[in-house]
């Protein structure tokens, strides 16, 4: 499998860059600090979730875009070899996402383990937070690749768009929903809001975590609606389904664009 060859190389290259180890260390220190200050209960996990929901999309998407730009000559070199574009795409994608996921998961799991959370009753929730982080990494690297390919010649635009998208999804989105609720408060809003929250993978991940922890006070508007509408298990399953869609659609587009692109 040629994908594996590329993956193996990317892997080596990334770890030689060392910053990926720093990325894991940040999660290690952060998780450790959160547990020390917040106790080993669900509180620490919720704080970790909040940090993860903010950082993982940013780092994954920006690095996804930059990575494509940086690999430009490499892509050209490889495409002049007997190699199909699909293998190359998956090699690049896997070569970036696997190390990023690993450094997050290992970085966060070490303190979670050493403080005994992974063996406590919260183990399931902890694994879910790790798993959602991995899913968000995959989603946002996919989005980053798609943006990088769409603005292959115009790096500033590609990077700019990824930052704007992150800002919107991670920061402005809640405000946007509250604004809608404020303006249209007299109408039945449950279903439209439900639909809107499907459009944001970060929000979906947050809803899943909050449904799992059953902390409705922290759920925000969309989480509360979700909870009321679906109940926690069905709600979680629906949210998971949409997370998978968020993963599949950008990657499917990305492969298509990559297959047709001029290099």
């Amino acid at each position: 499998m040629k994908t594996l060859k590329i993956l193996e190389y990317e892997w080596k290259d990334l770890f030689r860059g060392k910053w990926i180890i720093g990325y894991g260390l940040i999660y290690l220190l952060l998780t450790d600090a959160l547990i020390r200050f917040g106790g080993s209960g669900p509180k620490a996990l919720l704080s970790l979730t909040n940090v993860m929901l903010l950082f993982i999309p940013l780092i994954s998407m920006v690095y996804g875009v930059l990575y494509l730009y940086q690999a430009r000559e490499f892509v050209e070199l490889l495409l002049a070899q007997p190699l199909d574009r699909k293998s190359l795409f998956w090699g690049l994608y896997g070569g970036l996402s696997i190390p990023l996921i690993l450094s997050y998961v290992v970085g966060a799991a070490i303190p979670l383990g050493s403080h005994g959370i992974l063996l406590s009753a919260d183990a399931g929730s902890a694994l879910m937070v790790l798993g959602l982080g991995a899913a968000l990494t995959l989603i946002f690297i996919g989005l980053g690749f798609l943006l990088g390919l769409s603005f292959y010649e115009d790096r500033i635009k590609g990077l700019g768009f990824s930052l704007v998208i992150w800002l919107f999804l991670a920061v402005l989105y809640d405000g946007f929903i509250l604004f809608i609720v404020y303006i249209l408060g007299d109408y039945p809003l449950e279903k439209p809001i439900l639909a809107i929250s499907m459009l944001n993978p970060i929000d979906l991940a947050r809803i899943i975590v909050l449904l799992k922890f059953e902390v409705s006070a922290l759920m925000g508007y969309t989480g509360a609606v979700f909870n009321r509408f679906f109940g926690s298990w069905v709600g979680m399953a629906v949210a998971f389904g949409f997370i998978l869609l968020w993963l599949a659609i950008p990657l499917w587009r990305g492969v298509k664009v990559f297959a047709k692109k001029d290099f």
Binding site: D13, R16, L78, A80, P82, L83, R85
Partner: protein
């Protein structure tokens, strides 16, 4: 053998290739000349499958190109600007391309030796000089003993010694019956290495014939002035 029929490609509104027709027989050494931006590199990239043409048909050794890739086993390509993954050492790059290609690199040692790359093998590519990178590019293009060599301005960054070595190697390949496609702005190099000339202007083939014929037509002048007068005649 490379066969191109009515190849069209535009980037946005700008037509880069406007109906290229070419038939390059096996074993022919062809020089491709033309002013900057005439479409030489784009044409080469369509043959490699790096650029997807808007319309037209390309055949390499009887295989029609349609997004397939196995035909590239027969091609060695040396790009105009050789830039490689920065953290990789030369050795790792060679090994990596070998593993991607999955064939034996029978000329590897010979090429490394000829170009004097031995001392560079363990260095990361980012510290290599431009000329040494070109040598790595030449090694990558030739080490698999491909039937077709596509060289895009190969000697641009090479010092005289490396350039001489390189030309000797190309000469040898030519003698062994390889098909060579070479673009260059250095006419003496074209004259030295190839015996067939293609002149491209505005994405169209304006001249395609034996070099000797062109030189004799222009009354014994050098190739350089013959090509220059072609460019002038076309109003460039």
């Amino acid at each position: 053998m490379i066969k191109i029929e009515d190849l069209q490609k535009s980037f946005g509104k700008k037509g880069v290739l406007n109906g290229i027709n070419l038939d390059i027989p096996r074993g022919q050494a062809t020089g491709i000349v033309g002013p900057n931006g005439s479409g030489k590199t784009t044409m080469i990239k369509t043959v490699l499958g790096l650029v997807k043409p808007d319309s037209g048909r390309i055949e390499v050794n009887g295989v029609k190109l349609n997004g397939n890739y196995a035909y590239r086993h027969q091609i060695g390509y040396m790009p105009q600007v050789a830039r490689y993954p920065e953290n990789m050492t030369v050795n790792e790059l060679l090994e990596f391309i070998k593993s991607v290609r999955g064939t034996e690199a029978i000329f590897e040692e010979k090429l490394v030796d000829h170009f004097g790359l031995d001392s560079e093998l363990e260095k990361p590519l980012r510290v290599l000089s431009g000329g040494n990178r070109q040598k790595v590019g030449a090694t990558l293009a030739m080490m698999f003993n491909p039937e077709i060599l596509i060289l895009d301005e190969p000697t641009a960054g090479l010092d005289p010694r490396a350039s001489t070595t390189f030309k000797e190697l190309v000469h040898e390949e030519k003698k062994n019956g390889k098909t060579v496609l070479l673009t260059s702005h250095i006419m003496s190099e074209i004259e030295e290495l190839t015996d067939h000339l293609i002149f491209i202007l505005d994405g169209k083939v304006r001249y395609n014939g034996p070099m000797q014929e062109l030189i004799s037509k222009s009354a014994g002048r050098k190739l350089e002035s013959a090509v220059a007068s072609m460019m002038e005649g076309a109003g460039v």
